[in-house]
Point group: C2
Chain length 270, copies 2
């Protein structure tokens, strides 16, 4: 099944365009998971248990897994197994390298691990993205205008009358022959989110920056004009329970927080 | 010890500005390593055995390790252990993410694994590089103008009278308060390699694109005006022996190839 079809189906079935960001940091996770042989895996599994069926899927930020070495690598594999097959699994790794290296990354994350989509940095140009696009059922989210302060430094340089990130979007859309390219736009970039979703009703956007990064879900959603978007919340959901809590409390708090965000995001749409 | 000091020392001791790129692909490695429990680790160890003391160090391209899952992750750790402590260990991962994610990557590759340097993609801006720079003894090589065809797509867009990659270099040099930033320039970018090494005698460049990627070592070295550069060769060295060979043949061929490249690169300099 092509990614966009899977996304459409999952959003409909689960009534949610929210994707939960799994950024597990050992020092931040509640005590109840710390005695496990693989605390970050136990933490992720509990989040999935609490939120499956009420969000569209999960985004794993590889940084936090790699920081734990082999244990982190095992946690990626275990986390993927715990995610129901009809939900979306995004590898947030911001990779991008010359052809044969990008081919190796595509093999790692798409062929071996079975992620549905990946985030890619565009700096090295079109050929660095090609191997990911060759996996026609998968989706590649290219960084557009991100949500961090440094997004001003290069992404917003002026090339003639346009910003660099606008050129990035244009050039990649020109090469989107398998209809499997999307973009990452920070939640506060509402002008451009509006523009691109109005111009292109089938363009999938991945939108971080809600919650801990400060975006406002309601304002954002009013500006989105297609249904293929995903609003990501990481810290705002996964660290919503206090560090000292029972499993049941954790489950309820994380579930409620996800449900609330889904309601806010999907009120208008579904 | 600061990275630049370590680099200067190693180059002098080993008489070489060559860094060997470890891009291990299981299907390409000689039969003698395939029966090992971890073939890519066995392959890397044999390369290190053959080339230590005659090159400046090793660059591990994470793509090829990640493609092998847990086994690949173990191979990174084992490879690092096999590299003599006085040699340079570069993590070629082209990461770059928002602050807390980059902090996790810095923890993974610098604090946990002990790499001396890392390659970073600049697209997300200054704050995405900051956590790496905070490790003051380590070096961060930021992508400048790379060696692949796609390097034309965005890196060479004109911002006023300059290319995007020139702006990237300028902006990062402005924030180089710990003297621990370098850049990646493809071997064919000789005009800019000349310019930057003339202007800045202490700027470390990492230069891939020699060998399989087609650069010419002699022409390149004539244009370099400081001693803190590293010329990388990956496929041209590590796959120089035939797939069917003895350990001794492998050792001799890989050693000779590395020595020849070092001689060519260092003839003028040392």
């Amino acid at each position: 099944m092509k990614y966009k079809e899977k996304l459409r189906k999952t959003v409909k079935e689960n009534g949610s365009n929210v994707i939960v960001g799994l950024d597990p940091q050992k020092e931040k996770i509640p005590g109840i998971f710390r005695k496990s042989g693989n605390p970050i895996l136990a933490f992720n599994k509990a989040i999935i248990e609490a939120t499956k069926g009420i969000c569209a899927g999960y985004k794993l930020n590889t940084a936090f897994f790699e920081a734990e070495g082999l244990e982190g690598w095992r946690a990626i594999e275990g986390t993927l197994e715990a995610i129901p097959g009809n939900m979306i699994r995004i590898c947030d790794s911001k990779r991008g390298d010359i052809g044969n290296s990008s081919e190796a990354y595509a093999r790692a994350y798409f062929d071996r691990m079975g992620f549905d989509a990946i985030t890619i940095s565009p700096y090295m140009g079109k050929d660095s993205v090609e191997p990911f696009l060759e996996r026609k059922d998968k989706l590649t989210y290219i960084l557009g205008n991100t949500s961090n302060p440094g997004a001003e430094d290069f992404q917003k340089l002026r090339i003639g009358k346009k910003y660099l990130f606008e050129i990035v979007v244009e050039r990649f859309l020109e090469m989107d022959r398998y209809d499997n390219i999307g973009f990452v736009f920070g939640a506060e970039r509402t002008d451009y989110i509006e523009k691109y979703t109005q111009e292109n009703r089938k363009l999938p956007l991945l939108i971080p920056g809600i919650g801990a990064q400060g975006g406002d879900a309601k304002k954002l959603v009013e500006r989105i004009h297609n249904k293929l978007f995903l609003v990501n919340s990481s810290r705002g959901i996964i660290y919503s329970a206090p560090k000292e809590c029972t499993r049941k409390e954790f489950y309820n708090i994380v579930k409620t927080r996800t449900k609330d965000l889904s309601d806010e995001v999907n009120k208008k749409i579904i």
